[in-house]
């Protein structure tokens, strides 16, 4: 049952991700991305990380994508003209090549049964376990992310401000 659900979620996630890239309308792409995120949350839940699954839905599928959609609608989501999409087929193939290469490598690596070499100790991803890691082992990363976000906010504010009061 679990295996079946895993492949179901994983397959749907990949399909939705492919649709995100392939959609010509930005809004449709964003909605496909939401779907992909929800499926990823399912995969997380199956991997014994319930906290991560909830956060994935709350933050990514919820907050961030709503913001995305707002921005796209404010910019009046451009629809790529068909002739532009058609012209760049060669370029698309060129871009797909490295991605396909990486996919092949990863799949062949997984197929050879390298799970044994994966050294991380499995933990159950409850909120308590995540908090324990965040505030101990990954304290620096936790604090540094707040600085990264602060820099991003300062940047958005200072770049987005209008030119009032200029000499």
């Amino acid at each position: 049952m679990e295996t079946f659900l895993f492949y179901l979620c994983g397959g749907l996630m990949l399909g939705a991700a492919a649709m995100t890239v392939a959609s010509r309308s930005a809004v449709a792409a964003a909605v496909w991305l939401v779907f992909s995120f929800v499926c990823a949350a399912g995969v997380f839940a199956l991997l014994a990380a319930p906290f991560l699954a909830i956060l994935q839905i709350l933050i990514y599928a919820g907050a961030i994508m709503v913001l995305f959609l707002f921005v796209i609608m404010m910019l009046q989501g451009p629809v790529l003209p068909a002739e532009v999409a058609g012209r760049t087929v060669g370029r698309k193939a060129l871009l797909a090549l490295p991605a396909a290469a990486i996919a092949v490598i990863l799949i062949s690596w997984a197929a050879r049964g390298r799970e044994a070499s994966f050294g991380a100790t499995p933990v159950t991803g409850t909120a308590a376990a995540v908090a324990e890691l965040l505030l101990n082992r990954y304290l620096l990363a936790f604090e540094l992310i707040s600085i990264v976000l602060l820099v991003a906010i300062v940047g958005a504010m200072s770049l987005g401000r209008n030119e009032e009061g200029q000499p």
Partner: protein
């Protein structure tokens, strides 16, 4: 370090102090700015300089750590190597602040976001040079890059600045994605994020695995982007040219030094894998040097010329990295190999410092001579007759150009000499010869600036801005460049010693 080490924050605070001072200082500068009305922002630059001085003092006062000590459970190194780069970064940030403030004063128009962002960018650079964990490596890259994107794009009313920032942001996001993918693969192989565990996993891995070379390649792409290695250099000319001169100086020196520091730790971490990439890396290094120098020949703007020259200099530094990588294969004994590796590593550190001094000097001259931020002293023709109008500034720029070209008795010559010497010792004679040929080629466009300054009469539009602070700083930098060129020995010994003490 096996598994999670308990974090003992209290004992590590003194060693963490430089980073904390910068982080808290950045916040303080933002708060002070928010509560200070009016247009003048002099006190912000003063506060920023004080914070940077405080960080340097904290670094100086930090207790000497025994070899192998890491902070926060393996996240950061507390070695001489990180101390070296912390002091270098703080110096670069101080000079950048001085130049920026002198430009702001000329315009009477301050850019308040500059000060906190510079502090955060410096924090990112310091953490990048000290990172000994895949996670802290990535976050340090992001802290530094995000701050620099905004610094590049934030020049008000300048379309070229916005364009440069946008280009840098988009391409930088790609590079970050490459880095993240590579780090994720490394984590997948090692099952842990700290360098020590990754190193163990790499050593234990069977040779046939394709995952590690792939991960290593992705990480190399990302760091190659940051140091402007061909073919990941496309952004460099436009971004260096479009960014305000004071930010370009920071990018060309601080970002590059931090990225090379991270690269030195990473290639040390992945020796067998990096060797698989050795031939390709050698080809890319040759291309980087040659491309940068060839295109720089035909530039008419000083900033754009320095951008291409920075690509070429990344090539010289990559030569040093190749020498570090090659020592394991050719040298007769392990002791000999270690000696050559230390020589090469020391040469890279020495060259990074020299490069920072002369490049910041050159950008300082640009900042000094710019009339306003909209009329930067960019066109090389505008330097005609500078030796008559401003003999002192012209003399300092001449020193920097001689040094960039690698002509004795400047530090640039000594730095190149150490690098090429290490490359020869590592058994890569053809590469060293190619480096010397490139260096000769580059003399043409550096010396052209000097010819224009000293031999051409001033005509038409000339640069005649003025700033005491920038001129004074350039004088000090020129003195340092000459000093390191005449008596480099002890500083080089220090650099080699610093590299030898590097931990991962």
């Amino acid at each position: 370090m096996n598994g999670p080490t308990p974090v003992t924050l209290g004992a590590e605070l003194p060693v963490l102090a430089p980073y904390l001072v910068l982080a808290v200082g950045g916040l303080a500068v933002m708060l002070v700015d928010a509560f200070s009305g009016g247009r003048r922002r002099d006190h912000l630059s003063l506060l920023t300089l004080l914070v940077l001085l405080g960080a340097a003092a904290a670094q100086g006062a930090a207790p000497a750590e025994p070899r192998g000590a890491t902070l926060l459970g393996g996240m950061l190194a507390a070695d001489r190597f990180s101390r070296f780069f912390n002091l270098l970064t703080v110096t670069i940030a101080m000079l950048t602040t001085v130049y920026a403030t002198s430009m702001f004063e000329r315009d009477g128009r301050y850019r308040a976001d500059f000060y906190p962002l510079t502090l955060f960018a410096a924090l990112g650079m310091m953490l990048l040079a000290a990172a000994t964990d895949l996670l802290s490596l990535f976050l340090a890259v992001e802290t530094m890059s995000l701050a620099v994107y905004v610094l590049v794009a934030g020049e008000r009313g300048s379309l070229r600045s916005s364009e440069a920032g946008f280009k840098y942001l988009i391409l930088g996001a790609f590079a970050s994605a490459f880095l993240l993918m590579g780090l994720a693969l490394l984590y997948g192989q090692a099952g842990a994020t700290d360098y020590a565990s990754v190193h163990r996993a790499v050593q234990a891995a069977p040779d046939g695995g394709i995952l590690l070379p792939l991960a290593c390649g992705l990480v190399l792409v990302a760091l190659g982007f940051k140091v402007a290695m061909v073919p990941f250099h496309m952004w460099t000319p436009d971004v260096y040219d479009g960014a305000p001169a004071y930010v370009t100086g920071l990018m060309a020196t601080g970002v590059k030094a931090a990225a090379f520091a991270a690269l030195l730790r990473v290639v040390w971490l992945l020796p067998p894998i990096a060797e698989a990439w050795f031939p390709l890396l050698a080809v890319l290094t040759v291309l980087t040097m040659t491309y940068g120098n060839l295109v720089a020949l035909s530039q008419n703007g000083l900033k754009r010329m320095l951008a291409y020259s920075s690509i070429a200099h990344a090539g010289y530094l990559l030569l040093g990295v190749l020498a570090v990588l090659n020592t394991g294969r050719d040298s007769a004994t392990a002791v000999q190999a270690a000696a050559v590796r230390d020589a090469a590593g020391g040469a890279i550190l020495f060259y990074l410092v020299v490069y920072a001094l002369m490049n910041l000097g050159a950008f300082g001259v640009v900042a000094c001579l710019s009339r306003s931020r909209r009329e930067e002293a960019d066109a090389i023709d505008g330097y005609a007759g500078l030796s008559r109008r401003r003999p002192f500034v012209a003399a300092t720029l001449a020193v920097f150009m001689f040094s960039l070209a690698g002509i004795p008795p400047t530090a640039g010559f000594v730095g190149k000499f150490y690098i090429f010497d290490a490359v020869v010792k590592a058994g890569l004679v053809p590469l060293a010869v190619w480096g010397v040929i490139n260096s000769l080629l580059s003399a043409y466009y550096y010396l052209r600036v000097i010819v224009v300054m000293y031999m051409k009469p001033a005509e038409g539009e000339v640069h005649d801005g003025h700033s005491w602070e920038a001129a004074f700083t350039c004088g000090v930098l020129a003195l340092l460049v000459l000093l390191l060129g005449v008596v480099p020995g002890s500083f080089y010994a220090l650099a080699a010693h610093t590299y030898r003490q590097m931990i991962f």
